[in-house]
Amino acid sequence: MHTAGASEVDLHVMFSSLLGLLVTPKLLGLMLLAIPLGIFFGCVPGLGGKLGIVLLIPFVYGMDPLPGAVFLLSMHAIVHTGGIVPSILFGVPTNGPEAPLLVDGYPMVRNGQAGRALGAALSAAGVGGIIGVICLALILPVVEPFVLSFSPIEFFWLAIIGITLISALAGKMLVQGLIVGCFGWLIGMIGLDPQTGVQRFTFNQLFLWDGFDVISGVLALYALPEMMQLGRGKRGDAGTQAKNTEVTQYTFAEVWDGVKDNFRHWGLAITTAVMGTFIGMIPGLGGEAAGWMCYAFAVSRSKDPERFGKGAVEGVIAPSTGMNAKEGGGLLPTLFFGVPAGSGMAIMLGALIMLGIKPGPLMIVHDLPLVWSLIWAIAMSNLLCTLFLLVVGKHMSSIAHIRAEVLVPVVLVFALLGTYLAKDHWESLLVFAGMGAIGYVMRRNRWPRPCFIIGLVLGPTAELSFHKAFALHGLGFLVQPTSLVMMSIIVITLILNLRKTYRRKAGPGDAGRATPTSESI
């Protein structure tokens, strides 16, 4: 009886959230506004979803949590879909995760199948995004009791596991990644110590009393270095794709043929979407891993693997579904454990906190309508974006030709605005410019900057949970069965990542070696 009642309540919450999203003009309007913005951030080289979130922070400042979160998440969920158009048509990935699409997408374009490639990739992205949230919706009731049983011990170890994933994010630059992660953690300690109330590293500056927020850190270490990189050359130096209008001369029938390819390869589309969702749930793997792993899966299950790389449509479908499905999966650890699945979700986490949302296990109890609204927002924005791009995709491709010289100062203004509004202190602007120099040198030398965000977000969580667990159990909590299991996971993860790194020792720039600088950036 109780279970049936609870299910009815869950179904009621599920569908009332959808209805709320559809019939509230403000929410629907924000979602519709987020779609062109997401396409814009996806299409323009050098911007991407992470910068998209931080640059839109000023616009959600002061908004209620639900509209603000729906707006940001809808935009973030479709950035990769937006990036598909210029990546396939011009053969240049606008942001990292779109890279696997090029392997077969661009050869298809060169074979005169631009419309089919675009139709297949865009509809696969839509399918992936929707299957991703369906998987999340199905998993929710299963994880609910699991999430609610977590104590500070589990949260401490979960945060440490998240931090350990720096070793995966850093790849070959393990030492540099750990340094950057420690830097993020140290910056996260600025403010009042949660246990004693003592000021730490505030230097008696009022603006540092309530800590250093994620948004300012991301803007300083991401937005500013990216803009400096784009703006460092003289006019015409910055890389934008050469205009090739021939590739946009395709018909809608060709696009529709690509859409039908998803039905012809429905097994692949569904499998890679489910794969993408689960990859998205694993902190540290991120969008690039989802795309490449799904591509590798498509090659491995093909009876004719030699077609790949020469324009196989399966090579376009698999990474597209995986890339977008991981957004739904990434929401699970981010919302319910406060552990971001990747650097994009880490920034989203900071934005949600700024909006007044408190990610953690209690969300499943107190904020379920909000959770469902966010899930529906991802599904709907994926659907609408796919339909929109299938129709007008070729016209949107011209966004990729926006010149960096024009983009840089405008983005800089909004980055400054975001930094200021995040804390309401003008001193943050000086910190932004100062830290930006460190970020820029890191960016030029390819030090792994996502590790900074992991340290900044998870460091304070780890410290707070440690103190709580220590207060409850003393140091004895370190030898409890849960701790031993979690420690084993950490050790195994570290060993696997280190083995992976040292296997590549013959290549340049392994862990413990100098920063590789011979490759172009």
């Binding site: 616009f59 030492v175 340094i179 460092r232 410019a433 100098a514 920063t515």
Partner: protein
Amino acid sequence: MNSHPQAQPTSGWRIRFTSTVALSVTFLVIFSSAAIVAWLSYPREAASMPLIIGGIGAALSLLQLITELRASRGDYEEQIDLRKDVPIYLWVWSFVIAVVAFGFVLAAPVMLFAYLRFRSRESWWLSLLLPVAVLAMLYGVFQLALGVALFEGLATPLVRDWLASVGVAGG
């Protein structure tokens, strides 16, 4: 760091102050200072985590510094080109200083115009259009529509008071 990003000759195996060496030194100083400050200034409970993280960070930075110094003696391709990087960084600071002094609504359009016209060499038309659009966004959307109180700058109230005192504008 040097002004030429090309690979440097290996003559004499001389240690050079490269950008990665500078980065490692910066982190070493930051972590060491944090650990020392925590040790000297905070109670034990509050100091424990900064000491652990500062200590680990300092040790790793030292390791990286040694690695980078060794690497700097060989073929090293410098990624920082001061001729290209300093001007753009000075533009960033000029944006920041202008906003700190005169606030968003005044400084952002002016600096945007200056950048577009004098750095990007855009046409007068675009150099004026974009700042006007940004001004409309900042003042119209943020200040008026959304009711966000944007920072008006440290110098703006002083200038306004001075103008009022000389009778140019109302107080």
